[in-house]
């Protein structure tokens, strides 16, 4: 197991390096000129040039890249030569737009994304897997057909549509829920758990409608297949009760692909659910990343891209390891 983990860790580092390199390169050939953008309205060529030097954009490509990487290992010097300041480890640079420390920006944005993710994942897992299981148990009957139909519908609803409709109905028209506010980042703040929930509920529902539709499908199909396996018949022949047969024998055996999906979706969502954050004005990683990318803010974009990649790879590894816990046949390898 340790050998396996070490190998995966090594692969992760290499992958992150590759991701950072590609992002950096794409930026070099991008159209936005951050120096000009940071300069503002009254810009003279001299001031643009000054800004360029201050941002380190006059350096050759590889020097810039090396400087960026050095910030990941130790502290780094930032700023115009002569007016340099220390940027403590881990230094991800300073935003070209706001000159804020990128690490601080991410630390601020992350709780929002986590709030969004946690609630949505719990909601779609409970609803998706629950309904999928229910449909599998009632296969062929009316309930099954309704659920499958609803999931087809749900899968075709894009987030912007669902999100806006929900906002319109529950916030705009009925006024049952407030607009999302930046004040509430976690259930541990002043507003408490209830405030946290009411703040993010609509965003969670919007995400859950889309994702649970997929989960309903996969769970249903998987469970139908698992229920037809021989060991289910044996369980019945032993005289086991219905609940034991369905949950202890059936669900446990069929859960593996769902765990995979969940892990990967979780990893992807932590990188920032861009559309949802935009629609609900949640200043999480996705929101921040979009703003940075459209304004040529290289350090911020780099940092969030790498963070997103890190989460995805991390959850991939977690999912692989969890297989060994669920399925003893995998442990041999």
């Amino acid at each position: 197991m340790t050998g396996f983990l070490l190998r995966r860790l090594g692969a992760m580092l290499i992958l992150l390096l590759v991701v950072s390199f590609i992002t950096f390169t794409l930026f070099q050939f991008g159209p936005a000129d951050p120096a000009a953008a940071s300069c503002g309205q009254e810009c003279t060529p001299e001031r643009v040039e000054q800004a360029r030097i201050a941002l380190g954009l006059d350096q050759p490509f590889f020097a810039q890249y090396a400087a960026f990487l050095s910030g990941l290992i130790g502290p780094r010097m930032l700023g115009a030569p002569g007016a340099e300041q220390v940027c403590a480890w881990p230094c991800l640079g300073k935003s070209f737009q706001t000159n804020e420390n990128v690490t601080d920006m991410i630390a601020n944005a992350l709780p929002y994304t986590v709030s969004l993710t946690v609630g949505a994942v719990v909601l779609w897992t409970v609803v998706g897997v629950g309904l999928g299981l229910f449909a599998a148990l009632r296969k062929g009957k009316l309930a099954d057909r309704l659920i499958v139909g609803a999931s087809s519908f749900g899968v075709s609803l894009p987030i912007p549509v669902t999100g806006l409709v929900l906002l319109l109905v529950f916030v705009g028209t009925l006024g049952w829920l407030p607009f999302t506010t930046n004040e509430i980042r976690s259930p541990f703040g002043e507003a408490g758990v209830f405030g946290w929930i009411t703040n993010y509920l609509l965003a969670w529902v919007a995400l859950a409608v889309l994702f649970s539709a997929q989960y309903v499908r996969i769970t249903r199909n998987n469970m139908i297949e698992t229920f037809s396996e021989d060991f289910m018949r044996t369980a019945r022949a032993k005289g086991l009760g219905r609940g034991t047969i369905v949950f202890k024998h059936g669900v446990r055996a069929g859960i593996t692909p769902i765990v995979t999906m969940l892990g990967l979706d979780l990893g992807a969502m932590l990188g920032g659910a861009v559309l949802t954050e935009q629609i609900f004005s949640v200043p999480g990683l996705g929101f921040t990343a979009v703003r940075a990318a459209t304004s040529g803010d290289l350090p911020v974009t780099m940092a969030i891209t790498m963070l997103a990649a890190f989460f995805i790879i991390l959850f991939n590894v977690i999912v692989d390891v969890s297989y060994a816990f669920i399925d003893p046949r995998v442990r041999v390898n």
Binding site: D230, R233, A237, K238, G239, A253, P328
Partner: protein, 332 residues
């Protein structure tokens, strides 16, 4: 102990109603081993599963009577049937690798089978499981109880499954082709095990198989099935010395044996029936070599009844009318 009367099971499929069982009869007494012999589509597995009540709450249409120690099993609902499964009637299946749950240890699965019907702690149940594994001949049972099914060899796995089926000491064991997927040397071990355990517990055994050799070795009585019906029932000796049904005779003539002459095998022409559109007459008629001897097209129009003389019953017009050619000593 067990009395199956006129059992019929039909399944709805995309192609229509499949008549898997068409009036099956079977009697079984305590301590008896009965072989249920047939090829694919004969209904032998369906019979064993129907006795276990595995078709309750499914789309199958069942009629007839299954009487076990006075109780009509068909009349029971799923919940009441559960009390019988594992406790009074145990079942072992053909492929132990797929029949056991891949994620739980063998010991826990056997312990689970015990705890369903006996209120004991998990620890106590595990000890029972270990004892049972030892009883079925698995070496080092204490450690092997913590192994998973895929970590056993084929023969050991089948022993574990037998342990699981017998842990509550049921009065009836249904063995559904338990050795078909095993090597012949392993099969021999398992057959020895089953007959040994049966002698110890005096339980009844229904042994479903297609192999007449296994039946000869293990069973006292034989029920030959074809097309969802019992076509012949007799003691083992009678079946082999004086088979009465043309199908049974055909089966014996087509089976290769290790002993005796190796002349040409005499196959039965055609293939086992499809069970979708059963003919009105005898289901075996289109493959039968003596149907022509029965006057008036009776075999094609009238379904024969199962008629018994003392211990030997056969479902055949030709036999009933005494038109069967003289008994050929079955090739031994």
């Amino acid at each position: 102990m067990l009395s199956v009367k006129d059992l019929s099971v039909r399944f709805p499929t995309d192609d229509g109603m499949v008549a898997a069982l068409n009036g099956m009869d079977l009697q079984l007494h305590r301590g008896e081993t009965v072989g249920l012999v047939g090829e694919s589509g004969s209904g032998k597995s369906v019979t064993s599963q129907a006795i276990m009540g595995l078709f309750k709450e499914s789309k199958a249409e069942i009629s007839g009577e299954i009487s076990f120690e006075g109780t009509d099993l068909l009349a029971l609902d799923e919940d009441r049937m559960r009390a019988f499964r594992g406790k009074k009637i145990g079942m072992i299946f053909q492929d132990p690798l797929s029949a056991m749950h891949p994620f739980y240890t063998v010991g826990s699965q056997i312990g689970e089978a015990y705890r369903v019907h006996n209120k004991v702690s998990r620890k106590a149940a595990k000890q029972v499981a270990i004892d049972m594994l030892g009883r079925v001949g698995i070496p080092d049972p204490k450690n092997r109880a913590n192994s998973y099914p895929h970590e056993f060899s084929g023969g050991m796995r089948q022993r574990a499954m037998i342990a699981m089926a017998l842990v509550c000491e049921p009065e009836l064991l249904i063995a559904d082709e338990p050795t078909t997927a095993l090597d012949v040397t392993v099969q021999a071990q398992i057959l020895d095990l089953i007959s040994g355990l049966q002698a110890e517990t005096n339980s009844a055994v229904i042994f479903v198989t297609h192999d007449l050799g296994v039946v000869a070795q293990l069973c006292q009585r034989v029920v030959v099935m074809y097309g969802g019906q019992c076509v012949e029932q007799a003691s083992v000796r009678q079946i082999f010395t004086s088979p009465s049904h043309p199908y049974t005779r055909g089966l014996m003539a087509s089976m290769p044996h290790l002993t005796g002459e190796d002349d040409r095998l005499t196959p039965i022409p055609g293939s086992p029936p499809a069970l979708l559109d059963l003919p009105p007459g005898c289901i075996f008629a289109d493959r039968c070599d003596v149907a022509a001897l029965v006057p008036g097209n009776r075999c094609q129009t009238e379904r024969p009844q199962l008629l018994s003389t003392s211990e030997h019953a056969a479902r055949c017009h030709a036999h009933e009318m005494g038109l069967l050619p003289a008994t050929i000593k079955a090739k031994a």
